[in-house]
């Protein structure tokens, strides 16, 4: 059942990249939106865009001499899963998701960075890789470097767990969907997550953590808070700009710290 899809020397079917194009990059930064790829890459040395295929735009840059890929995943766990599969074939071993998020706890502030300690698997893709009782948990070592890098910059941050949802409206218990209806099994879920200590909603981390761990690879997730669900749905544009910058800086610094501590990933 193998074919061109499994040919690791070829250009990968969905993301349009090849081993050669990656220049040996072991680290990948993964924003969701193609339009965030180049702004993030701009914080790397010698950055250049590689290609765009479907929702996957890619750029390559350097942290000191360490090659780092930046690639968008598109929205949601399925396209993120395809990204991880194809990047893993090309040799990437360390994945850092860089996202934006809405917070659901009162003590979280706009602009806070959230470094994930784990994710609620409210999506279907991770279930194709591991049973639902399996923990969606990031790499301890890589996550620790995100903490250190954030502390060194003195940026406000939180660590804790988030919820990764397969929908933007009912899975996050938003009632302003087209139908205005949230099915019974999700009614009250927002308050439940709040009571259980969940910090925020987004749509990709639990798949990233689960897939990477079942592959024996390493993933972490860093999100910037651009909306407070406890107050309003409005996205704060000035916060957004600051957050995007900090995500790129922390990720870059974390690669440097991680590489120093652990050497070149195999």
């Amino acid at each position: 059942m193998t074919g061109i899809i499994a040919d690791t020397k070829a250009i990968q079917y969905h993301i349009g990249l090849s081993t050669q194009m990656l220049c040996g990059a072991k680290y990948a930064f993964l924003p969701g939106d193609p339009d965030r790829v180049n702004p993030i890459a701009a914080f790397l040395d010698d950055a250049r865009e590689l290609t765009q295929h479907r929702e996957y735009r890619s750029a390559l840059g350097y942290v000191d001499d360490i090659p780092v890929l930046v690639m968008s995943t598109g929205i949601g766990a399925p396209s993120t899963g395809i990204a991880i599969e194809e990047l893993a074939r090309l040799g990437v071993t360390h994945f850092i998701r860089l996202g934006t998020t809405g917070a659901i706890q009162a003590h979280v502030q706009l602009g806070d960075l959230i470094i994930s300690e784990g994710a609620v698997r409210l999506e279907g893709t991770s279930g194709h890789y591991a049973p639902i009782e399996y923990p969606a948990v990031p790499s301890l070592a890589l996550t620790q470097k995100l903490v250190e890098a954030t502390k060194l910059r003195d940026y406000p941050y939180q660590t804790g767990i988030g919820c990764s949802s397969d929908s933007f409206w009912p899975g996050q218990e938003r009632y302003d969907s087209f139908s205005g209806y949230v099915p019974r099994h999700l009614q009250g879920s927002l308050e439940e997550w709040q009571r259980l200590g969940v910090l925020n909603f987004e749509m990709e981390s639990s798949a990233l953590f689960t897939i990477a761990r079942t592959f024996g690879l390493h993933a972490a997730s860093l999100c910037g808070v651009i909306a407070l669900r406890t107050q309003s749905e409005a996205v704060q544009q000035n916060v957004y700009a600051q957050v995007k910058e900090r995500l790129a800086i922390v990720a870059r610094d974390a690669v440097r710290l991680h590489h120093k501590a652990h050497g070149t990933p195999l």
Copy 2:
């Protein structure tokens, strides 16, 4: 909890479109890949690209005097769900997915069009809209027009059910993933779907059908067979070109037939 996200007059948060930009379009054609938007729109009259935001590229054209939107959904059910939510707010009532697919039944041929009678919900997004026992079934009336349009063109086609998966590898029981492992609950699933009469795999239809129906709206799905999983994973490029053309032609003709039979959708 409302905010800018629910403002139906504003440009929608994810897709970047407004009511005004749609010119009253009630019909939308939904390919997955942004790069298929303009080629499909080229079969409409007076087609022009509207915008691109994230994985959502959009164009508008006409079938006779009927405005039709073409917009990519990106890969997977979550981004498709967001597309439906935001298009529904802007007044779209009839959705036709135009996709490519791999067939898993021996009697299906390369190049066949598959008109969906229903979809296996092997994804998480539809579960945020309706319990899993709810049928992912297209609009009878709209689907019937796809059948009629295909017959009029004398294109080879199949009707039947497909399987919409949240992953490209394990959910479709591909063993050439990075880890080579398919979890136990999916081992043997390909043969099971074959035994149960499933024609093909793709990744979006069951969410489209479920969400549209819970919204009281209308959806259908038309896919072209570009690979035969029973033989090889290789995609046939010449078939691909022909299929893409036929998808656009049949969808266009179906809108004409549907509009003639049912009048302007409300």
Copy 3:
């Protein structure tokens, strides 16, 4: 493990029919109640009762030269499943359920015919044939002929999805059961189905659709509305009489149309 049960030449164990008795019938009309068999058969030519065994009463008649079986299924999915299994062995390929139903949407009227586009699988039998994510969806071609036949008669009708329940009380969220208790997981289910666009409750269609499709056979369902759950539980007897007549007429006409369009089923 085969035995007399699998002997397709013998009289079938539960339904008491043999191939010879069916005279080559490919179409079967399936009411639930044994007492509705002969009244339905009366709308066919040369109708005669065949036999009765357990809840299965059967009669045979003709539409032009096309032999058609009428057989009761008894109440519920399990006895319906046995009926389909044994009829399939005897060569029946097209099943049309003719039932009565209670509607749960305000826009449905007493006496309306409901032509099913799909069914919620709130029963256990279909799960013995296909995983719960599999769609309980009728045959597009056969369903389309029910629509055409109904339109030609100008009978008021609806198309849409229904809910097939394994119980008459709690599964349909009736509180006038013996205990008056509806378990928590079904509390609010009636309103949920209403919000999700479900038209009506009955007890057999989802098993019929699922089993027939996994067999590669063809099923459709036509029900007459004899009670409006949104108003009262009372069954309207005059409506009931009219509905029973219309069910038989539409089914008969649909066979004629289907046979004309598709020829003799294999």
Copy 4:
């Protein structure tokens, strides 16, 4: 939401019986097949048929002065559930199912009576009355009287648990169905039940036990072994005749013993 359906003085909607017709019967014997009602009633004093509506045929007789109803349930849990609901309204408090069954343990013999200690809930109806973790377990007191009555007659018998299935073929892992296919989640289930000590398959007991217990009522189940799944599917007709007689005798004797020990049920 009440209506004629909940009127306990009226003739019940599905079974066609009223309080008056039952003459105060608290005990009901429940075979599946309408054709077994009168033969069972023949073992009672002054037996007479009451009515037949759908698959529910009923007769009334006496054990000494104790009135006892005999009524068929039809095949499967859904129609059995309706029977229990409507009989409970009419005042029946003690239900004894009298069925035939196929045994799956090597130590069980043709003609053995199986007195149920509990049932595997492989059906959907009981789940509409209680969560799946709830035990489908008969009345200890009533079951004990079945044991005593059987011992007094010196009939060979077994006590143990059975499996109540919503289908005759795949749920009982029969491969001689029309499609010959058993879904993956039921493949190996027959051996699993054997390994877990299950004695036999039938289709109604778990719903009977669950519903009666949630109603605060009392149920028991007595089945005669007419086929040995470990050897052949063939039903032994001479065994069948003997078994039917013994079922009626034991049930009658058990009513006498139970009434003597516990007095008139409330």
Copy 5:
């Protein structure tokens, strides 16, 4: 994969007992608390403590000439499961749990003995031995002897089903836990169990029943009511003392009755 753990001649890994130490005991009394072992054994002849390992304290005594083991299980289904596994290897065939419990029905009184007819499987251990649809039901014969022994002593008692929970707080819907939060799927569960006829909560019976039955062994459960959840959480100490005595007496008497009726267990 065998090793010292499966060596039935050796001292068992967790409970610290060997075949030799058991002196041929076929019956075991199982309290939860190690501190209840010796007081229960004091009602047997020639009782002596055997050993203590982890939460498993054990003593041996006699009923007439019948050797009986008393061993604590610790709290919860997992440690109970280990106890049953290791005792079964050593030849124990009949298990009687002796516990204390809180009642949730208004008609149950402080000091009542509850003889279990079955248990709700609200715990995870039994699911490792049998699918969740399998009934957690005690041995009919052994349970019947508990009833007889209780009647002979004229102690007030109830028979019915209980709920075995994996937690003391949320699974029993107690809101005075540390967080004060009960997850949504357990909110309302106390009232549901009450409506469905459940008498009481404890934490071990369903695992005991399920495991013993899948092993072809025999289990029963006898609990004394020391708190009434419908009134207060307060445990009544004087009731507690009386209950503990009665549990031991009834179990002892039941062994005598059972042995007399059924002879030496194999």
Copy 6:
């Protein structure tokens, strides 16, 4: 519904400890076996046993001036859950499980310490606190201190995920149970966990992680490898002795490091 059980000033119902007895301890070390409490406490300053009630033996000691409780949990998640509930009421905020474990990966060696990054929730207790999609993940900060302490001692160690099972035999896919049977849904589970990167089996960590996190408290888990499931079930006694010592030393050192970095827990 509150009562003596919720009285935080009283001696706790199950563990037999009061606030006063804890002397302000915020840290607790949690072995499973009561017999490991004093040996672990011996590595603390001024250690003394506090009490024993049921399977809960407790001792108190100091790391510098920091009071630390050592208390056994008994085997399994339910008794561990009760321990966490009652300790939390008494003011404990940081929990470190100290266990022994069998490893299932070939690269893990006897005597290795395993510092948990997360746990598979193959048990029922955690499900009473949070839905199954919630990650059983330890405190990042506390876990990081276990890593640092282990590195400083230069002990061989692994970080990764484990599986917490509600049974010792079938849940860990051991076939040398009494019945020798592992239910179908667990057959192949050992290999699956190996393929998905799970390092080891034990029975308590996932409940500890889940409950602590839903309480807003902090937990970590450190286990010593005393058996290699891939080779033999035999426990190595000399390894066992060394491992027990290292567990105590690392936990003690980690408290010192954690207190230094984070100050006195609130």
